[in-house]
């Protein structure tokens, strides 16, 4: 009993927050409690959730990755260009798309580790560069008309009665939790985020670990880009615009602290669900995407402030 109390109150208070706002929004709109409503929320969350898992690793090890949104965009554009105009089967194109994420992660990692740039500057530069390139190669037009197979496999089908996007999200989260808890890599992330000097002196190859975290984040961002392409049935250069702040919000809501080496993937999953819930309920209420942006920014600030006060008094 003590363990459960500890788990909820000290480690993941976001669970209480999630249940609370689910009840409030549910009372305002009965549709939220139905199975459809729940599925809708989870599907909305899935793309953000997949990226947030990668982002958790980056933030826990003391970094930050702003390039995820534009990486989605360029993956989406590249994949649909290859499928549509070069007629390459998507079976080969998808690995190419994922590889793009890996490469971008390696580039960011190298700049962070060897040039010693602050992560947010190099990823900001990457954000501008990648989104510019995405608009350049797509000429700012959506590339639509992708094969039906591709759409079904990455979005519309179900696996074990669970819609594919939710299934992928769950699988990736479970793998993330296992890696973070039970592998040396996962534990090294915490140590590096907590005290980089100490980690270096105690003989950990911190360069490798840091580069690896950016690779994970990049790959998952590309995967999310591919899934969103399948959902929209088109490759668009504007697809991940502003996504980085949503993903960071999800991670921070989940209790991960910036630059402190604190946090876990499970919290991130709940944080993502909170954001999905807010999005769905705001659109149920008929508010435009601009309002969603404002609401999101406000919630991010409130969540961080509450979290700061909590950690001061507990």
């Amino acid at each position: 009993m003590y363990k459960i109390k500890n788990f909820i109150l000290l480690e993941n208070p976001i669970i209480l927050f999630l249940i609370g706002i689910y009840l409030i929004f549910g009372l305002l709109n009965k549709n939220m409690f139905s199975l459809d409503g729940l599925t809708n929320i989870l599907i909305q969350s899935s793309v953000i959730g997949i990226m947030a898992v990668g982002m958790t690793f980056v933030i826990v090890s003391g970094g930050l990755d702003l390039s995820v949104g534009s990486l989605m965009a360029i993956t989406s554009v590249l994949v649909s260009l290859l499928i549509k105009y070069l007629n390459i089967s998507f079976v080969y194109v998808v690995p190419i798309g994922l590889f793009l994420g890996v490469i971008s992660g390696i580039i960011i990692g190298i700049f962070v580790v060897y040039v010693k740039l602050p992560p947010f500057i190099i990823t900001l530069g990457m954000l501008i560069t990648l989104s510019g390139s995405a608009r350049l190669i797509s000429k700012a037009h959506p590339i639509s008309g992708l094969p039906e197979n591709f759409q079904n496999i990455f979005w519309h089908n179900s696996i074990f009665f669970i819609p594919t996007p939710i299934f992928i999200w769950i699988v990736i989260s479970i793998i993330g939790i296992i890696i973070q808890k039970f592998t040396t890599f996962g534990r090294y992330c915490y140590l590096i985020g907590n005290n980089q000097k100490a980690a270096e002196i105690s003989g950990i190859n911190i360069n490798r670990v840091i580069i690896l975290t950016y690779m994970i984040s990049g790959t998952l961002a590309s995967l999310a880009g591919i899934m969103l392409t399948a959902r929209l049935n088109s490759g668009q250069a504007l697809v991940g615009r502003g996504m980085e702040i949503i993903v960071i919000a999800a991670v921070v809501l989940g209790g991960t602290k910036l630059f402190k080496g604190i946090g876990n993937v499970l919290g991130t999953v709940f944080g993502t669900a909170v954001i999905g819930l807010i999005y769905v309920s705001l659109s149920f209420a008929g508010l435009s995407t601009n309002w969603q942006e404002v609401g999101l920014g406000a919630i991010l600030i409130v969540a961080i402030i509450i979290d700061n006060f909590r950690s001061r008094y507990i």
Binding site: L64, F111, V115, K116, L117, P118, F120, I121, I122, L124, G125, M126, L127, I128, T129, S131, G132, S133, R135, L136, A140, G242, I245, I248, V252, L258, F259, S288, N290, W291, E293, V294, L296, G297, A298, L300, I301, I304, I305, N308
Partner: protein
């Protein structure tokens, strides 16, 4: 006698070398501009140079605020959104509500001060990392801007006295440039000869040490964000006057450009080092870079890519400088 001369010579050589090391990035960009000038003579025409200065004033005014913030060890990503919001609100108030333009300008400046105040309070009282706090306000302000304007451009009609602010000249100096120069002089005086400037350098150099030596750290950080917000709104006002309309997406990417300008000018991203003079040069050079890219005929998307690369290079140099 001989040795004295050789020492003197060595000193001179050292000074020149030092000058080059300190300003290597400036020199690289200057060479780039000269090359472009030879390749496309239009670039060096008086008209074009005047145009560059006029544009650089907009970037420069914002960047002066950013210099204060970055010297104190912070960063402000919300300035671009402040510019957009100010632009839309001025246009909306004058066109839709028929409010006199002077009141609109005051309201706009208040918006800038208020957003700076919010940033400062979030950072000093809420203990949020400057980067995240201003990222959040950036999203919120842009959202408010788009909601207010319905994502549409709002025209301003027949306010010639307002448009002069962006288009006119005093003694054949463009007014934006004039304002930019005045603000730079004030900023230099504040930063060099006022305790406020000294404190800001101290806070950026070592936060803990300045806190324990009795400086009211939070107050000065708050003031630096207010200055940043206020100057961003001023730049937004001038830009609006120049375009004669309220553009909801005005100032997009301005935060990146101004960070690049400040870093090119030698201000360290890690705080504690920097000068207004450097920012002045940085703003002019970044504007010249943009201008040269359009003259060569690069597409806007490629320009974006190029600015991303310049930003990263500028920061690499600025960080190396801090370490040495």
């Amino acid at each position: 006698m001989m040795s004295e001369i050789s020492v003197k010579k060595r000193n001179q050589f050292y000074l020149i070398k030092n000058f080059f090391i300190k300003n290597q990035l400036l020199i690289i960009i200057l060479i780039f501009i000269i090359v472009i000038g030879i390749y496309k003579p239009v670039f060096l025409s008086t008209y074009n140079l005047m145009n560059i200065l006029r544009t650089s004033a907009l970037l420069g005014i914002v960047s002066i605020g950013m210099t204060f913030i970055m010297i104190s060890g912070g960063i402000d990503l919300s300035i671009g959104s402040v510019m957009g919001l100010v632009s839309v609100i001025i246009a909306g108030l004058t066109t839709n509500n028929k409010v006199p333009i002077y009141y609109c300008i005051i309201v706009a400046l208040l918006i800038g001060i208020f957003s700076g105040l919010i940033n400062g309070v979030l950072i000093t009282r809420g203990r949020i990392t400057p980067f995240i706090a201003t990222l959040a306000t950036m999203v919120i302000l842009r959202g408010v801007d788009l909601i207010y304007s319905n994502s549409r451009t709002i025209p301003i009609i027949g306010l010639e006295r307002f448009f002069i602010l962006g288009r006119g000249t005093i003694f054949s100096v463009p007014i934006p440039l004039f304002i930019f120069i005045i603000i730079s002089i004030i900023a230099i005086i504040f930063l060099k000869y006022h305790t406020f400037g000294n404190y800001i350098y101290a806070i950026g150099g070592n936060y803990e040490a300045s806190k324990y030596s009795g400086i009211r750290v939070d107050r000065y950080i708050l003031i630096s964000y207010i200055i940043g917000g206020c100057l961003a709104s001023l730049s937004g006002i001038i830009y609006t006057a120049r375009l004669a309309s309220g553009q909801p997406m005005l100032g997009e990417n301005f935060e990146m450009m101004s960070i690049a300008a400040v870093c090119v000018g030698g201000t360290s991203l890690l705080g504690g080092i920097g000068s207004i003079y450097g920012t002045l040069m940085g703003a002019i050079l970044i504007s010249a870079l943009y201008n040269s890219m359009s003259i060569i005929g690069l597409s806007t998307f490629l320009q974006e890519v190029a600015v991303g690369i310049v930003l990263v290079i500028a920061v690499i140099f600025s960080i190396k400088r801090k370490r040495s």
